[in-house]
């Protein structure tokens, strides 16, 4: 029996969870839009830069986190509701189960942020170009890496009910120490140089810069290979975390 079949089903279930209600999805999208249109517009009036143009790509990148963390939340629910034990009885290895959840995160992030990207393109028409294809591919790669971050949060929060609290903190760290919301020069003047290196290596920075690179007015610090490398590192960390979590459930019956 093919393990691929089980993988596909697990991925489908994960995606089904994120896109489970049109209400929730509409709400999330409208929130991101209000971020772009309200916060972006108002901040533009009190800031020294055209914040709307800077911020719209940032919102697209932040959307990846929303989707990837929600898939992580699905795994968390699986742990607390006992479904992971059911998965353990299915013909799929622990490693492929881990990979399935990471791919789910990649797909959920790409689909969700793809919608945001489409909206951002209405605001910033120069985004619509051939560069969209590598951008979407990068979104998938980064989103899988963020799935790895969700795995780490799952490991930290265990079977307790703190998943979202920890997720909020981790999300804030990744978004805050990136150029998603602020340009790198504003960060450099406040943050120690060692953390600035983290900002540059952060895959969110790389993706935000990749999107901004297609805007004629924006200067970027894009290093495309760093995006792949840093996302892969996060993916591997996530893979190890999920493998560990599932092995623990297999060994002890719980995390």
């Amino acid at each position: 029996m093919s393990q691929a079949r089980v993988m596909l089903r697990v991925i489908r279930v994960d995606l089904g969870y994120f896109f489970r209600t049109k209400w929730l999805l509409l709400t999330l999208i409208s929130l991101n839009l209000s971020d772009m249109l309200v916060a972006g517009l108002v901040y533009t009036k009190i800031m020294s830069i055209d914040y709307l143009t800077f911020f719209a790509p940032g919102v697209v990148v932040a959307g990846l986190f929303t989707a990837s963390l929600d898939v992580g939340r699905r795994v968390h629910l699986g742990l607390t509701e006992g479904v992971i034990q059911y998965y353990m009885s299915l013909p799929i290895s622990v490693k492929l189960l881990a990979v399935s959840h990471l791919i789910s995160a990649g797909l959920a992030g790409t689909i969700y942020s793809g919608i945001l990207l489409a909206v951002a393109s209405l605001l910033l028409p120069s985004l619509i170009s051939l560069s969209l294809i590598p951008i979407v591919a990068s979104m998938f790669v980064v989103s899988m890496g963020l799935g790895g971050v969700a795995a780490v949060i799952n490991l930290i929060s265990g079977s307790g009910d703190r998943y979202w609290q920890f997720a909020e903190g981790v999300q804030s760290l990744f978004l805050g120490f990136s150029t998603v919301f602020y340009p790198v020069y504003a960060i450099k003047s406040v943050i120690p140089s060692s953390i600035v290196n983290f900002v540059k290596l952060n895959p969110l920075t790389q993706l935000a810069e990749e999107i901004r690179a297609s805007l004629p007015t924006e200067h970027t610090i894009l290093q495309p290979y760093e995006l792949v490398v840093s996302s892969f590192v996060l993916f591997m960390i996530g893979f190890l975390c999920y493998s560990y979590i599932f092995s623990e459930v297999n060994k002890r019956g719980k995390l």
Partner: protein
């Protein structure tokens, strides 16, 4: 009944503070947002004087709002975990149970927010007992209002948890965006400004800023702010107790 309520309150508080790590983490998280993100964004803001403190006050209100929302949502989770059924069979009235939930939320809010407020006051060189107690009083009143709102909305959750989650998420986020938590009214225009002026969070944030000595020309009128916060607290208390006594068990209580 009083003893049962007290026991319930103690039980809830112990549960909310059982993780020292988590409470410390929430303070660290506040510190990170204030000192790192606040400082970065202050670098970019050119037309608001002392934006760092302006941002700090907004962050205090945002954190307090999140705690109050969490305490309200917790009640809905009780319903779905089955704990509510147990609570409803205890010898306490629905109304008293509602008040107990509010009291729990307010105490958690004050304990969790006292150190961050003290930090912002200290950075602003305005840490006095009067200012600390004054800001905590504003937060306590606003926590009652926000919790009352969330608990009132919990009636929706008995129909569909998904709809409730969507409405609460949307409402929370919109309340934050269409308010002066992050930016002053003077930077807004049109519909954004009109909605923000009808938003209680605007008045909570700006009243707090008045204690911090932020330029009052940037803020909403203080007397008006106090009236809005008190009205919100009283209004949602009435609304919440009404909903609680009528809808929570699905039939009108006797």
């Amino acid at each position: 009944m009083k003893k049962t309520l007290f026991e319930l309150l103690i039980f809830d508080l112990k549960e909310s503070f059982n993780s020292v790590v988590y409470v410390s983490y929430s303070w660290l998280y506040f510190g990170l947002q204030f000192f790192a993100y606040g400082a970065i964004i202050t670098n970019l803001v050119v037309s608001v004087h002392n934006y760092f403190i302006y941002f700090g006050a907004g962050l205090v209100v945002l954190s307090s709002f999140n705690i109050a929302s969490w305490a309200g949502r917790r009640f809905v989770e009780f319903a779905h975990e089955g704990r509510l059924k147990y609570l409803l069979c205890l010898p306490v009235s629905r109304r008293a149970l509602f008040i107990e939930q509010i009291a729990h939320g307010v105490i958690v809010n004050l304990v969790r927010m006292a150190p961050p407020i003290a930090v912002v006051l200290a950075v602003n060189n305005s840490l006095t007992t009067f200012n600390l107690l004054g800001t905590l009083a504003i937060l306590a009143l606003s926590a009652i209002g926000i919790m009352g709102l969330m608990l009132s909305l919990s009636v929706l959750a008995f129909k569909s948890f998904d709809i409730y989650s969507a409405i609460v998420a949307a409402l929370s986020a919109l309340l934050v965006r269409f308010s002066t938590i992050n930016y002053p009214l003077s930077a807004m225009s049109g519909a954004i400004k009109s909605i923000s002026m009808a938003n209680p969070l605007t008045y909570i944030s700006d009243l707090l800023r008045a204690f911090l000595g932020i330029d009052t020309s940037l803020l909403a009128n203080q007397s008006y702010s106090i009236a809005v916060i008190v009205a919100l607290a009283i209004g949602t208390l009435f609304l919440g107790t009404y909903f609680m006594s009528i809808y929570v068990e699905g039939v009108k209580s006797t």
